[in-house]
């Protein structure tokens, strides 16, 4: 069953901040992993798990659940942290990230952890898997179950993405809601210098998709866009969510060098202090 709690936007913002702190702690403890993407995605994941998705942490395989595919598997720390916050498993387990025997693999593996829908990491294949799921659900007349897919901007260099884009448009897969984490960075640098993606909106529209463009660090905007997407029946929907990579941690924001690196101990302390005080907006660290 879905636990529809009436969180206020302020509640959700607080939760997203908690998830960011958990991400910093996990990554520092693991000593490797990606920082920028997961921090930037914290608001989207909070919106999805605490407001948008129909899911049940006590029954991850619930047959009526919505499906969330994470295509850019390297951002999985945000999913693990959000799942722990939502009650899928204890927060203590977050500290096993990337360790031998952990359910929290460096890149997500479906078979290891209930609640993951796919195994991902190699980029470009999440949208096609979502398309397959959407087709299958339609064949079974299960269109009340939505298929969400979170993907990165950099992975749209992959041809596989555009193969999937064409197929989803051809079959009018209106039960897919895709969210692009448009943070403008990838490993080698800014997306527009590595391999220009713009005009991204035009590209998706030309491929037959309905495009919504939002501030992906605005939780309310994410929730509204997902609602709006459900009303589009003729086409699949792409939400281009503009996010700040490294969001919430001043020295990580907008810097592509943090794409694939974790904070060291001193950096983690600094980051946590900033997150606890919401960048100085909160005076007491005990709030």
């Amino acid at each position: 069953m879905a636990k529809a709690k009436n969180y206020t936007i302020a509640d959700l913002e607080k939760r997203a901040n908690q998830i960011r702190m958990d991400i910093i702690k996990m990554l520092e403890h693991a000593g490797s992993g990606h920082s920028a993407g997961p921090l930037g995605l914290a608001d989207i994941f909070t919106a999805l798990y605490f407001k948008v998705l129909k899911h049940d942490p006590d029954n991850p395989d619930w047959e009526e659940r919505d499906i969330l595919v994470l295509s850019n598997g390297h951002c999985v720390p945000v999913r693990y942290a959000t799942m722990a916050n939502a009650g899928y498993f204890s927060k203590k387990e977050l500290m096993t990230l990337r360790q031998m025997g952990s359910r929290l693999q460096g890149h997500p593996e479906r078979l290891r952890l209930p609640g993951l829908e796919t195994t991902s990491g190699p980029l470009g294949s999440g949208l096609s898997q979502a398309a397959g799921m959407a087709l299958g659900l339609r064949m079974d007349k299960q269109q009340h179950r939505w298929v969400y897919v979170v993907m990165s901007d950099g992975e749209q260099d992959e041809g596989n993405i555009w193969e999937a884009a064409m197929l989803a448009a051809k079959y009018k897969l209106n039960n897919i809601i895709a969210i692009t984490d448009r943070n403008n960075i990838q490993i080698d640098g800014p997306t527009e210098s590595v391999m220009p993606l713009e005009n991204l909106r035009d590209k998706w529209e030309a491929f037959g998709w309905h495009v919504l463009e939002i501030d992906g660090n605005d939780i309310e905007a994410v929730i509204d866009a997902c609602q709006m997407a459900k009303a589009i029946v003729e086409k699949p929907v792409m939400i281009i969510a503009h996010t700040v990579p490294g969001k919430g941690v001043d020295f990580m924001e907008y810097d592509f060098h943090w794409h694939g690196s974790p904070p060291n101990h001193e950096q983690a302390i600094k980051a946590l202090k900033e997150l606890r005080t919401l960048g100085g907006k909160i005076r007491s660290e005990h709030e």
């Binding site: 499906i67 593996e109 479906r110 078979l111 829908e117 796919t118 195994t119 991902s120 990491g121 190699p122 470009g124 294949s125 096609s128 898997q129 979502a130 398309a131 397959g132 799921m133 959407a134 087709l135 299958g136 659900l137 064949m139 079974d140 299960q142 041809g159 596989n160 193969e163 999937a164 064409m166 197929l167 079959y171």
Partner: protein, 326 residues
Amino acid sequence: MNELHLATRQKEPEPIRRGFGMGLLEAGKANENVVGICADLTESTNMHFFAEAFPDRFIEAGVAEQNLVTVGSGLAAVGKIPFVSSYAAFNPGRNWEQIRTTIALNDQPVKIVGSHAGLYTGADGATHQMLEDLSIMRAMPNMVVLAPCDSVEALKATMAMAADKRPNYLRVTREATPVITTDHTPFQIGRAYIFRDGRDVSLVATGTMTAKAMEAAKMLAKDGLQAEVVHVPTIKPIDYATILKSAEKTRHVATIEEGQINGGLGGAVAELLGENLPTPLLRVGMNDHFGESGKPDELLKHFGLDENHIAMAAHRLLMDHSNHKH
């Protein structure tokens, strides 16, 4: 000697891919969760029988093999039994990583069908004559690899795949080739079968080469040599017991396949004999080179895969290891 119910009379040759096409149609009738996806080669891979019978369960993905298998993975994730077909050169040639991550590691029971494998592809030339599929698919954990010997066995293999819970790869070929089995010949995933009893040399063959090995065995019999033909339709998991038992009896093993001997059936048998029962071995197949355009029979002859070459290889193996008494 026909407990296996092999064909006793000459039947019309038939392409192995046709057996897949008819098998998929049957599997589709038996189970409504069976779906088909193709990458612009629906008739060519013989998926059209299914597509015409079940248009609502058929998806045309266009010339996009990476999408083909990943859409398949998604369909399997929601309980479907997806068969995904294209030419073996592209599927699994082009989309191997997608298969590895989203099907094998992700454990989704997608049924991958690679047609136009091997030299029998003929005039299309080296680009389309997939010779490495058995090697690359055999290296992948959690993957079942099948290469039936004729259209009748391909039908059974297709039905068996639909019922199997694991990811599978099925190799099929274009050209009409001899039908050597019947509806009554047994087939089980993971089993090898002795198609002809012998004591002097084991001809361990797969796919189209099993029929050639049977022909070679007849030629060898005229020379006074009794060749045992071991048909290996499942390259992985390989039937250790049947192959080892034959090797123990004949003490001389030749593998025959229409593909690269490095890593293919030849590689698999070399590994299992090397570790369990070191035995003189000769691997007949493509030895680290590509094919070229030509008629299938010309190509098989040129690359040493016709019955004459196979018989000669058996003689050579026995001569080189002269402790054999004959």
